[in-house]
């Protein structure tokens, strides 16, 4: 439950110099505990899949999947369902549509790329238009639209956390089983195919998982700021190291860290969580850029 005074006037809590007390305050309310649970789960999923997305240069597809969640959530609200189901349904459907477009292979960029990005861009435009339609059909929804687009951490129920955990578990399990083949198929599709790796099927499966990860992240950062969790931690990690295992781990750590910091900052202030998560991510990315630039960009 969200305490009434908090919902009405913003946090009735203040930051002071006693860190222990601050932390205790942070977890005083069950809704905040749930926010940390959900945020952590979402950050792990986004950090993992975001890493492969950046490696495969599919950020545009990832962003489009995130935007596809917006009409889903708005439509679900319109028909009286939990927005979470709308996020999952529409992100999944968006992934299926994008997967049906022939993907440009690493060896044949140039040729296939424009067709692919045109299709993805179309999906994104349609998604935004639909979302707008659903919002205008549902009068009095104007408060909710902010949460859908820019994120919220209020009112996450135990059941919602359960769904987030289940979906994240599927993502982690799938990567544990097929992650190495996906890495091979992403870095070197021609050789992987000749070795019998199911390159096309992996690409489709990856997009579907990415859709689910985007749906998860949307529920914390909102549809428009999913990049904060999907791209920024992965891009920062890949700047800092070119060792795949270390880089993946770092991507997850950064995603979790910016989520925790964002939640804490949003709790102690009256500004939205999406802003804080994005800002902390951006700071990490900028620091990584500066650090590696200083190091001459030759690090491994």
């Amino acid at each position: 439950m969200i305490p009434a005074h908090w919902a009405a006037q913003g946090p009735g809590v203040g930051l002071n110099w006693n860190l222990v007390q601050d932390l205790r305050q942070l977890f005083e309310f069950h809704f905040m505990v749930n926010a940390f649970r959900a945020g952590t789960v979402v950050a792990v999923a986004a950090g993992l899949l975001g890493w492969f997305m950046v490696l495969r240069a599919q950020s545009f597809a990832g962003h489009t999947l995130a935007v596809a969640g917006f009409p889903g959530a708005a439509g679900a609200t319109l028909v009286g369902l939990n927005p979470a189901w709308g996020f999952f349904a529409f992100c999944g459907a968006g992934a299926a549509i994008i997967a049906a477009v022939p993907r440009a292979r690493a060896g044949t960029q140039g040729a296939g790329f424009s067709e692919e990005s045109a299709a993805i861009g179309t999906v994104q435009a349609v998604a935004l238009a639909l979302g707008f339609l659903f919002v205008s059909l549902y009068h009095g929804f104007l408060n909710g639209i902010n949460a859908l687009l820019f994120g919220t951490f209020l009112g996450i129920t135990d059941a919602q956390v359960g769904v987030l955990v289940a979906v994240a578990a599927v993502i982690v399990l799938a990567l544990a089983i097929g992650g190495r083949q996906l890495l091979f198929a992403s870095v070197d599709p021609d050789v992987a195919e000749a070795r019998g790796v199911p390159v096309v099927a992996l690409g489709v499966a990856f997009l579907l998982l990415l859709g689910f990860a985007a749906a998860e992240a949307s529920q914390i950062t909102g549809s428009l700021l999913v990049f904060a969790l999907l791209v920024i931690p992965a891009a920062t990690a890949q700047r800092l190291t070119a060792r795949p295992a270390a880089s993946i781990a770092l991507s997850v750590v950064i995603a979790v860290a910016v989520t925790w910091l964002g939640l804490a900052a949003a709790y102690y202030s009256s500004y939205p969580i999406g802003f804080f998560v994005t800002t902390f991510g951006f700071a990490a990315y900028t620091l990584a850029q500066i650090a590696t630039h200083r190091a001459g960009g030759r690090q491994a």
Binding site: A57, G107, R180, L183, F184, V191, Q238, A242, S247, R298
Partner: protein
């Protein structure tokens, strides 16, 4: 090193050809690329596949890999139908360079050649997996040393030069101790000194490791002295022969449709002059930079 004993398959009869095409036809998108092709590659041979752009050289490689089924005729590779022996074939696709932004090290690319098709992630701490990892690490180090890539294998692969990438890719193709290496234009887009160095590396791998090598090339000059056999793909067919049989002015000129001279140097080496498709002018390869 004990590579030779591992590379040679003890179960295969010594007389069985490494690759064999009988009256083979390949078609792409309903169009016949080549037909009536007969070809035998013996174990340990160094074979060049040459021919003009679009003649079907890469198609030949894909047929041998089992990526493209024959439209007619028969093919056997390492004693089995194509595609069934893919774990004993090292493949270097015709390609451009890696994306400069790709944040994966050269050593990782080589390692994927070894274990990239395995399921699961290696969990640290399990004894059997740790032992396997140790063996894998040693094998990767070994091939990196063999191709002379140790010095830059820790750098992001998109950030090393074209010649260095080619060496890493040869290491990747070699890391599983293949019986056959199919190299599609590995010398392409390299400058002349690098072409000579990489060509020398490939022919030494062929000789020292007992690996059969089929190498698609635009310019055979760098490898001419070490070739056992040349396969010409042109005009909807292919012929094979020894370099001295088929590297002749009349045949090459007909093949490429432009005058080409073959000279014999004082020490008996062949040199092709006026080759129509020097790598620098071969335009279908540099698209990706755009």
């Amino acid at each position: 090193m004990n590579l030779r004993s591992v590379a040679a398959d003890p179960t295969a009869a010594t007389t069985a050809p490494t690759a064999e095409l009988v009256d083979a036809t390949a078609s792409l998108g309903g169009r016949t690329v080549w037909s009536g092709v007969n070809l035998t590659v013996e174990p340990g041979e160094f074979v060049a596949v040459i021919g003009p752009n679009g003649a079907g050289k890469s198609t030949l490689v894909k047929v041998l890999l089992g990526l493209l089924p024959l439209a007619g005729g028969e093919a056997r590779v390492l004693g089995r139908p194509p595609g069934e022996a893919s774990d004993r074939i090292g493949y270097l696709p015709q390609r451009r360079s890696f994306d400069p932004g790709l944040r994966v090290r050269g050593v990782d690319v080589v390692r994927l050649g070894l274990d990239g098709d395995r399921w699961g992630v290696p969990l640290p701490g399990l004894g059997r997996i740790r032992r396997r990892r140790g063996e894998d690490d040693r094998r990767v180090d070994e091939v990196l040393r063999l191709v002379g890539a140790t010095g830059y294998a820790q750098r992001p692969v998109g950030r090393v030069s074209g010649g260095e990438q080619q060496r890493l890719l040869i290491a990747q193709a070699l890391v599983r101790r293949p019986a056959l290496m199919l190299l599609d234009e590995p010398l392409d887009s390299l400058d002349l000194p690098n072409q000579a160095a990489v060509a020398a590396l490939i022919s030494s791998i062929c000789r020292d490791q007992g690996v059969t090598v089929m190498l698609v090339a635009h310019d055979v000059n760098p490898i001419l002295s070490s070739l056992d056999r040349v396969v010409y793909v042109a005009g909807g067919g292919a012929v094979a022969g020894t370099p001295h049989d088929v590297i002749r002015s009349d045949i090459l000129s007909r093949l490429y449709g432009t005058p080409i001279e073959v000279l014999t140097t004082s020490d008996g080496r062949l040199v092709i002059v006026g080759h129509p498709e020097a790598p620098a002018r071969n335009c279908d390869r540099h698209r990706q930079q755009g």
